[in-house]
Symmetry: C2
Subunit: 321 residues, 2 copies
Amino acid sequence: MRILITGGSGFLGALLARTLLQHGQLGGGPVNELVLADLQPPPDDLLADGRVRALTGALIAQCVGLRGESFDAVFHLAGALSAECEADFDLGMRSNLDSTRALLEAVRAAGNVPRFVFASSLAVYGSDPGLPLPQIIREDTLPTPQSSYGVQKFICEQLVADYTRKGFVDGRSARLVTVVVRPGKPSGAASSFLSGIMREPLKGEFAVCPVPPETKVALASPARTIAGLIAVAEASRDALGGRIAVNLPALTVSVSEMLDALESAAGTQARALVLLQPDAEITRIVGGWPAVFDNTRAARLGLEPDPDFLSILRAYQADHA
Amino acid sequence: MRILITGGSGFLGALLARTLLQHGQLGGGPVNELVLADLQPPPDDLLADGRVRALTGALIAQCVGLRGESFDAVFHLAGALSAECEADFDLGMRSNLDSTRALLEAVRAAGNVPRFVFASSLAVYGSDPGLPLPQIIREDTLPTPQSSYGVQKFICEQLVADYTRKGFVDGRSARLVTVVVRPGKPSGAASSFLSGIMREPLKGEFAVCPVPPETKVALASPARTIAGLIAVAEASRDALGGRIAVNLPALTVSVSEMLDALESAAGTQARALVLLQPDAEITRIVGGWPAVFDNTRAARLGLEPDPDFLSILRAYQADHA
């Protein structure tokens, strides 16, 4: 199989790449070539694998060349992040909407109707001034996104559904919940702090929490997120149950429960490194995302949320000891 | 006030223009200039009005010039029709999605945040393989469009909502139901026959009905449709209740009830001119649209559905006697 991962050098993209290389297969087909498209080159461990090829540059420009290539599966993870899109509307439209459309057109031009997994986001949900969100979110809940990022993701879901209906791709959208704990530096995601308030204190560094501690959030570990993307890629159309996006399973916790887990894992001194400094814009964006999801549809694909936050934190500690 | 109507030479666009010129005002402001943008020049009666200016050509090309103009209100009615978009995917994406985006960008560039009314459609609704439609459609029902036209309309609604949230336009989307009875020739809309099976027999001509007579449809007269567009344009943000699209009120009838009304209005010989010749594709598209709507939100704007189909037919006869 030839597989394309856009955003393939990012945290999730690289982790997906490593997982696919380690499994050696996707849906029973051998992983022969893995193309990682990204603004940045892939990490060295991936470049060292003979099955990996790097495509470095802006996706929208690369899509012209991609028209000549046919892949068996495409994971489309590339895109601008939520806070970036809110700060720069045109950047978001270009990086999220135009790039996705260019990629869909490239895949359509190849003509072999591959599996196409679009990484959408829980950010499609938001509370419209005239329509408060229900307590529990299901896939038939109407998304009324309250950020440009969420709007762009929701629009791309519609495109993926229609390209699929037309037989141009075999598409499916998976809505990712906030992935924690991410290693590395803070990102342009409004939810970036949810990793930071764990990662920095574990290194003995200060971190800012810009939302009230009672804020509830929907989270998944990196491992469960990757498992979700692969399960959605491998699922039959029947198992998916239609073309609407699948909400990946979410663990619901409050920020203060996350801090309790930090204290359990690393002591009161670690917790004391988290500074509560509410930020109105981040609180508006993150607080507007729903926190409680009906995970039934994901469960039918064999996907379960992480059991508790402490297990997420302990896995992060084990991976980054 | 300076008002722009895209699709201003079409049936609805010209009717809206005539209505605004006749009222002489919109939301209390005098109608000083009415710009009608369309592929075709406006009808002579409109051109004869000193307040009317015609912009003839493709909208997407005109949007460059429109960037320098500021309007107080924009009615965006232009676009490719449902059957056209299903037959030519790229045409639909260009005429519906790209043109709407170019228009929103032109209006954003002018910088005066005008009222922007987007004419969406009940075609945003459809029964996804995994999610049958509920019996009664409300604005919080998740649209899962089953045509490219419906997808494009729904995407444009999302753009209008986000351009509004960002303060680029004061946008609102009104979902039109099928407008009957349209005069003139058949159009590229999958629903075109719903006018044809009345209009042609009234002239003593044959007409083909491509769906089973028990098919239920959601209809509105031209007059009620124009009243809906104007009410949505004039409504305050509070009265609209949020940024999600408003479903204009719909009269639900079966095709056989329409034929009964034709017989009442024009006799058995008129009804006999309607040939039942089911077409699978038209039946799939039109049969996939919901027929029963909860009209509560429209009613709060003072809008009511037509009382019955015979009154729609009699009004058409009076207008085209």
